[in-house]
Structure formats: structure tokens, C-alpha cells
Symmetry: C2
Subunit: 321 residues, 2 copies
């Protein structure tokens, strides 16, 4: 089963989103136009627009209205990826050259800024002040998350609470906002808005924890990069944090690795995380979030949209790569 | 006479803007808090808030309302400087270390993004959809301007029209928007909004042309960098463009310089621009814009605010460094 089969009734509406995205990033400046179009062509799951549309079904659904925040949230996500590639000095993403690699950091910086601005422009068609307040506050939080992530790199003394705060800001928040803004735009009941926020937040947490597990368990071919890249780059995720907390000798070994960057030691660390229960622990936590998400979804009115939300949650939290 | 003496009646209101700026960039994340506070301490002319406040005087002036766009426009300006310093790899600005130098490019990137988001957050208190539309469109334009500037670097074939389009997006637009948004927020008549936009646009153009002239004529001490830095870095401004158009042999010499980067040749080019009339030409154009700005200002109601606009225009377009 493919992801898109889980919400086939949205097919036409999602085409409108694609069109809206293309209109928003198009420009008579050829370089930015090409960069934007290539980012769109590179695809992605469009999971944020899907959540906006599904959530909007719980109010008065109007695709001409709701396509604006749906496309805006995808653009914000795209812009943040472009900026991430600048600071990570990344040359490839989703099997394609990054804007940074194809042009340079300067162009990528301002392309990111341009896409942010295009997202805001789209949002201005939504005349609901609260929607703007929530989104702007969310963007501030997301930037803080990026900075915390940089600060906490290679920090083997960090506690698990910091990890959860970090992935909330990095991933879960924008998914929660997608659900919330879909509901707000379609003027769904405030109680439904809250449940959809809770759903999106929990799905987002489960999604990111799954992502962090896959970085250890999936193959290089599936990931498009060697397994264990997170740990190698100092991004200490839940499976590693569990092992650090439980086994002081693992922590010492990891500190040693961050000093000498010995690749055999890395291989050993990755094996330890698997054998000492780090993956199981993280999987249990991810499942807890998934169940919380499903509980929130089940309290929504019983509709096709609810059904899709439940299926999508299962799909993205349980995916194998 | 100091700049701030030209609008002394705004003194208390400008203090409120400073306070608002500090509230907006403050954060419980220590690094972003410190970076933001240092950017504020570094000062700057706060010319955008001044224009917002002065323009708001032509409607129903309410500092508690108008301080929001005033601070937001200064934050957008600050954020763009932080991003510029990342891509220019600049270590010093306004006599202080840049965020990029003090921390690193990653922190500077997300600090810039954070300050942008803080600006948007502030703007959400203004419940006038048109204000948001104008600002978002302006931000898209500004990003295009940055990219055009990169593309047109070292391009000795560019025509003067491109220069004007570039400085409009780079400088004049945000000043025009400051005037326009001040007027819109205070609900001034649409005809006044238009005149204030025209005023801001022309002042901004004169301001940037003056800036570009000073890069040739001011001393290293006044500029904080060697004279002729723009030309050296491939940023071909009006005095050089005039000389290129009028003297083909100057263009050839400049092309040669961009190939060999010979510093004696640069000295010769700088001398040529002065002796062949490039400075006088650019000064005449700057004066034309200044006069257009003053004409727009004179068509406004005769108030203290109008008086200040006229004086500020003279001050910033005619400054000697």
C-alpha cells in the first residue's frame, strides 16, 4: 500500500496544492525560478499539506481557502531544508543536488529566504489573525530548535528531556501546526482544533523517533547515506541516549570516539546500541506517541478523514525506511 | 546637528521601539539572546522605525499600535544584515564582531531566521490584511534583489537600469514600505499612503546612491574599510557604470582588473571614476531623487512630521559619510 492510497479522495485537491506551490515559487528571476522548480520536482511526501487538508475536513472544507496554508506549510518546510543544506554544507538531498551545491551558499541562503517570504505571502490571504500568530510563534520555536540542536551536538551529558524538546521543535511542531491550521482555516470547533493539534504533535514525535531509529537500523541503500550518520555527526538521538544513561561505559566509549573519530570504534558503538536495547526502548516510546495520536484521532467525528488520519499515522510512524 | 535632533518630539516613542526590539529578540535560549542583544547594542540609525513613526503621524497616531510595524521593519533589516554577513563571510560590522564571526555560520543563519520570525510575530498584532500582503510581497522582492546582486557581480556589461532595479530592491523598497506601513497602520488617507510611499522610495534611492558615492569619496577611516571596496568586490555601482557607458577604454581596463586583480590598476580605476565625472553624475541623480522625495513630502499636510521628513531626507541623502 502506498501512502497516497490512504487519502485517495484528496487526489484532485493535492494536485491543486502542487499547482499552488509552483505558482508561489515561480519568478521572472531565472535562477530562483529554476531552483524553486527543482525543489518541487524533487518531491517529498507532502505530508504537511496532507495533514492540513485532512484536518480541514472537520470544519467547512473549502479547497480554495485551505490550499493556502497547506502550500505555505510545505514551503516553510522546503525553505528550512534549503537553509539546513547551507549550514550542513550538504551537496545531495533526496538523490538530487542541493541548491547550495548547484549554485552556491549565497544563492541558497536567499532562495530559502525567498521561499519563506512566498509562504508568508500565501498566508496573507487567510484573514484569521490567530492563524498568523500561531504560525509566527511556531517559526520562532523552530529556529530555536535548530540552534539548540547545534549546541547539543556531541554533548554526551545531555538528558533525554532535551532530546524530546529538540525533536518537538524540529519536527513535531510543524506537523501539529499543519493539523491546527487546517482546522482553524476551515473554522472547525475549538475542541476539534485542540485534538487535531494533539494528534499532529504525537504523530510528529513518533515520526521523528522512527526516523532516528532507522538511521541505525536501515541499510545504506535505503537511507542514501551510511547507517549511524547521526551518531557520527554528533546528533545524539534516543537509541544512543538510552544507552548512555544506562551504561556509563558506553558513554565513555562515545566520548573517546568523539575525540579520535576511529571508525572501528564507531562500528562498535553502533553494535552496542542495538545489543543493549537502545532500539527497543526508542521503538516503545515511538509506539506510545503513536497510540496517543490514535487516541486523539479516535475522539474526532467518525469520517473518512478520521480514517485517513489513523492510517497515515500508522504508515509514517511504522515505516521500515 | 545630529540626526535625532530632527525628530526630537519622537524621543520617548523611539525609546518604546528600543524596548519592543529587546522584548522581541529576547529568548531563554542564551546564545540567541546574547546575539540578539548585541545586534541591538551595535545600534544603527533606526531610520526605518523613524519613517514608520513620522508617517503614522498623518493618520490617527497610536504608539502602542505603530510601534509594532516600526520594530518589525527594523528587525527585518537586522535579520537581512545577519544573513548578508553569513554569505559575505564578514567578521566585522559597525565596529563589532558579526554573529557569524562570534559564533559560526550555522548560528548566524538561524539567528537571522529567528529575527525574521520575531518580526512576523510582531506584525500579527496588526489586523490589517493589506499591511501583511504588502510586507510579504516586499520581502519576496528584497530576496530577489539579493540574488540579482550576486548574479550581476563583476558583470561590466550590465546597463544602468539594472542598477536602479537592484538598489530599489536592496534599499529603497524597505524604506518605502516603512512609510507606507506607518500610514496604513494609523489609517491615514489612501492618497497620503501613496505620497508617503513615493517619498520613502525616493529617499531610499537617494540614500543608496549617496552610499555608493561615499564608497569612492570617503576616507578609509570614515568607511571602516578601504575606499573602492564595492568596485573591488565586483559590486559595480552608479559612478562606475556611468564611466563604463561613457568610456569603452575604462570598461576594458575594469575587465582586465577583474582578471588580474592588480592593486595598482584598481587605484587607477578609482582615479578615473573621479576624474571622468562618475561622481558628479551619480550626485546629480541622487539629488534628483532627493528633490522628488521633497516634492512628495511638500504635498503632505503642513505639520511637524512633514517638517521632520524633509529634514531627515536632506540629512541622509546629503551626508558626507
Amino acid at each position: 500500500m502506498k501512502l497516497k492510497d490512504l487519502y485517495s479522495f484528496l487526489k484532485k485537491d493535492l494536485q491543486q496544492i502542487e499547482h499552488q506551490l509552483a505558482v508561489s515559487v515561480s519568478s521572472d528571476q531565472p535562477m530562483i525560478h529554476t531552483a524553486g522548480m527543482e525543489l518541487l520536482k524533487a518531491g517529498g511526501k507532502r505530508i504537511r499539506p496532507v495533514f492540513v487538508l485532512l484536518s480541514a475536513q472537520f470544519g467547512t472544507y473549502n479547497i480554495h481557502q485551505v490550499k493556502k496554508p497547506a502550500a505555505a506549510l510545505e514551503l516553510i518546510h522546503m525553505a528550512s531544508l534549503v537553509h539546513d543544506d547551507v549550514v550542513d554544507d550538504a551537496d545531495m538531498r533526496r538523490g538530487r543536488e542541493t541548491v547550495k551545491a548547484k549554485y552556491d551558499s549565497k544563492i541558497a541562503m536567499y532562495t530559502g529566504d525567498y521561499i519563506f517570504a512566498a509562504a508568508l505571502k500565501l498566508m496573507t490571504d487567510i484573514e484569521i489573525p490567530r492563524a498568523h500568530q500561531i504560525l509566527a510563534q511556531g517559526m520562532k520555536e523552530m529556529c530555536l530548535g535548530e540552534i539548540e540542536q547545534i549546541n547539543e551536538q556531541f554533548d554526551t551529558d545531555q538528558n533525554i528531556r532535551k532530546y524530546f524538546k529538540r525533536i518537538k521543535r524540529k519536527t513535531a511542531l510543524l506537523i501539529a501546526l499543519s493539523c491546527q491550521l487546517g482546522a482553524i482555516t476551515s473554522k472547525a470547533d475549538v475542541s476539534l482544533q485542540k485534538m487535531l493539534y494533539e494528534f499532529g504533535y504525537c504523530v510528529g514525535m513518533a515520526f521523528q523517533i522512527t526516523d532516528d531509529i532507522l538511521d541505525f537500523t536501515a541499510s545504506e541503500k535505503q537511507l542514501g547515506k551510511p547507517a549511524g550518520s547521526d551518531l557520527k555527526q554528533g546528533n545524539i538521538t534516543l537509541p544512543a541516549l538510552f544507552t548512555i544513561c544506562k551504561y556509563p561505559e558506553f558513554k565513555e566509549k562515545l566520548n573517546l570516539y568523539y575525540q579520535n573519530k576511529d571508525s572501528e570504534l564507531l562500528a562498535e558503538l553502533l553494535k552496542d546500541i542495538k545489543s543493549l536495547g537502545g532500539i527497543e526502548y526508542a521503538s516503545r516510546i515511538s509506539e506510545k506517541y503513536l497510540n496517543r495520536a490514535k487516541k486523539a484521532a479516535r475522539s474526532l467525528p467518525d469520517t473518512d478523514a478520521r480514517d485517513s488520519l489513523l492510517k497515515v499515522a500508522d504508515y509514517i510512524a511504522c515505516r521500515k525506511f
